[in-house]
């Protein structure tokens, strides 16, 4: 399956992904309702977009007391069935990433559903920081990035660059 990943070096915090997500799911540009959130770190001039990772072993899915969370067989997305959701917020408490949000107006939980396989956030990302990639490749890239940063740290520790 494919998931949305973010290259934090490329993200410029334009928040187009948030607008695109809000429009796709809510029909307006209420950024607060977006299911992808860009954390902006002013001091470090860094931005980190965060959205659901559609965990292979999704605790929110297992723990939902309404049986409202299921994996979409077509896209692999972990998706909430709003018609079944009771709004009990157990999934908010289960997600270690804070990637599930509560819609107080409708009284249901909401999360990324990968837009049926063509995520709007990725389509409208101006800097191509967001990519829609195979989860396994993403894990590989993550390992490489971690290796690289470890090497950098080791080099820095030895006083070199």
């Amino acid at each position: 399956m494919r998931i949305v990943t973010a290259d934090v070096d490329a993200c410029v915090a334009c928040r187009d992904c948030e607008y695109a997500c809000a429009f796709e799911h809510g029909g307006d540009f209420d950024r607060a309702a977006s299911l992808i959130r860009v954390n902006f770190y002013a001091e470090e001039s860094a931005a980190v977009p965060l959205t659901c990772m559609h965990c292979a072993d999704a605790w929110c899915l297992d723990v939902c007391p309404a049986g409202a969370i299921a994996r979409d067989p077509a896209t692999g997305a972990v998706a909430i069935d709003a018609a079944r959701c009771a709004g009990c917020k157990m999934c908010l408490l289960a997600c270690p990433m804070g990637n599930i949000h509560y819609d107080a107006e409708l009284g249901v939980s909401r999360k990324c559903d990968l837009c049926g396989g063509d995520p709007a956030c990725v389509r409208f990302c101006t800097s191509q920081a967001l990519r829609f990639v195979e989860a396994e490749d993403a894990a590989e890239a993550r390992r490489e990035a971690l290796d690289a940063s470890l090497k950098r740290l080791v080099r820095a520790g030895r006083g070199g660059r």
Binding site: D9, N39, L50, M53, C88, C95
Partner: protein, 445 residues
């Protein structure tokens, strides 16, 4: 011949175990025996049903196709009355016997009955089973007077549902404050005020002395209160485990079937999961009963995987070695209490150990955006529990906090964590590198 797994129960722990059993490659024939009729429904949602948030159909969480897909037979509406662990047989009501190679007891718990004279009055109800909820539904009419006995999770959700439907509700709690097991004293005080603001008088530290019939209604006598009359009494005074099927495994005077980290009981071939167990906890200390939905799901997963391994081993080795189970395939990291609901306009959430002692460090604040109350308890620099009252954001903060509590990891810098600026990560599994990203950004600038 294929082995046979018998599961007693048909709720969170049983269903989770069944799924986990198949996922782990368990090929045995499976029978679920449930005292309640019909397919599985969600107990957690019963108050939501009474509030009209969920339909009756919405309570059903597994339909007949689920059991078919899982290759399991559901025998529902039949009580298991005994376990013959030597013969490996269940005795069902009506005399039928059901042999098993592996057994999972996921029998849950039932409402505790406080020792109050008159509790058997027809107008005294609880909110525990689907039948309870269906029976209460027509009773909850505007203007009806209700007494809620107790102030735990179930009691106050019942009170909120009744209040939402226009009843005159009074809460009487024996303890000195409301929600003694779900909230700390500070949060309880905030919620207490909220109940009163919604027109629900709360009498804490008050013993209910008797309930007497008064033309079909109930005359309530409670210490320190003028006697009053109500149309319905809803009890919510805690739960006790349905642990009678395995008396030989119980510790004297302590309810709950003791289980190890593999969810094995002390009886060969018998596992237990969910509300019925007394098991290991994430924060260490003596085993506890954590009668919570998430705990039941977690324990069921562990039991299911280990039963798959045990029954596979039994099939390979033949009956002679069947009583020497292999090393468990999966062990439980221990239960971590987590609660969340919405009542009286507040999201009420708690995690881990939130009642502090002298040795703890405590942060209490009403200054976080959207939260009326937030408390974080830590010991030796490690977070052990938290409480949040207010908006739904409190549940999100507690969710992000949960891995740190479960794994005993120090928190990142607190203010940025609480503001949501630092994404949580699971220790040992770095996520797409916010921290690496920060380092690189610093290098560039």
């Amino acid at each position: 011949m294929t082995a046979h797994l018998a599961v007693v129960g048909n709720s969170a722990a049983a269903l989770s175990a069944l799924e986990s059993f198949r996922r782990a490659g368990g090929t045995a024939r499976v029978t679920l025996v449930s005292a309640e009729p019909g397919p599985a429904y969600s107990r957690v949602l019963l108050p939501y049903f009474l509030r009209g948030k969920v339909s009756r159909d919405g309570l059903v969480i597994r339909g007949p196709e689920f059991y078919e897909r899982m290759g399991a037979e559901l025998v529902s509406g039949v009580r298991v009355v005994g376990v013959d662990a030597c013969a490996r047989e269940l005795e069902l009501a009506g005399g039928r016997r059901l042999g098993y190679d592996g057994l999972l007891l996921a029998t849950g718990s039932r409402p505790a009955r406080p020792p109050i004279p008159g509790l058997d009055h027809a107008a005294v109800r609880s909110l525990w089973t689907l039948d309870d909820a269906l029976g209460l539904d027509p009773v909850l009419r505007p203007g009806v007077r209700a007494l809620v006995l107790g102030s735990g999770f179930v009691a106050l959700q019942a009170a909120w549902a009744a209040r939402c439907r226009g009843l005159e509700v009074t809460v009487v709690e024996l303890d000195g404050r409301i929600m003694p097991r779900v909230l700390d004293a500070g949060a309880a005080a905030v919620l207490h005020g909220r109940l009163e603001a919604h027109g629900v008088p709360v009498h804490t530290g008050t013993a209910t002395e008797s309930l007497q019939d008064e033309d079909g209604r109930v005359r309530v006598t409670a210490a320190g209160l003028d006697p009053f009359t109500v149309d319905v009494v809803i009890t919510g005074t805690g739960a006790r485990p349905n642990d009678e099927l395995l008396p030989q495994a119980l510790e004297k005077g302590r309810p709950g079937i003791p289980v190890d980290a593999a969810m094995r009981t002390s009886v060969d071939g018998v596992y237990a999961a969910g509300d019925v167990t007394r098991g290991p906890t994430a924060l260490g200390g003596p085993p506890e009963i954590h009668a919570l939905w998430p705990t039941a799901v977690e324990q069921g997963r562990v039991a299911g995987a280990n039963l798959a391994a045990e029954l596979a081993g039994a099939a390979d080795a033949g009956p002679a070695l069947a009583s020497a189970p292999p090393a468990p395939a999966v062990t439980y990291r221990g239960s971590l209490s987590m609660n969340v609901t919405e009542m009286f306009g507040l999201t009420v959430a708690s995690l881990g150990r939130f009642v502090d002692t002298d040795e703890d460090d405590v942060l209490v604040t009403d200054g976080l955006p959207g939260l009326a109350y937030f408390k974080l308890v830590s010991r030796d620099g490690l977070p052990v529990g938290a409480v949040a009252l207010g908006g739904a954001g409190g549940a999100v903060i507690l969710g992000r906090l949960r891995p740190y509590v479960r794994w005993g990891k120090p928190l990142p810098e607190l203010s940025s964590f609480l503001e949501g600026r630092v994404p949580a990560f699971l220790p040992g599994r770095p996520l797409p590198g916010p921290f690496a990203g920060l380092a690189r950004a610093a290098e560039r600038s």
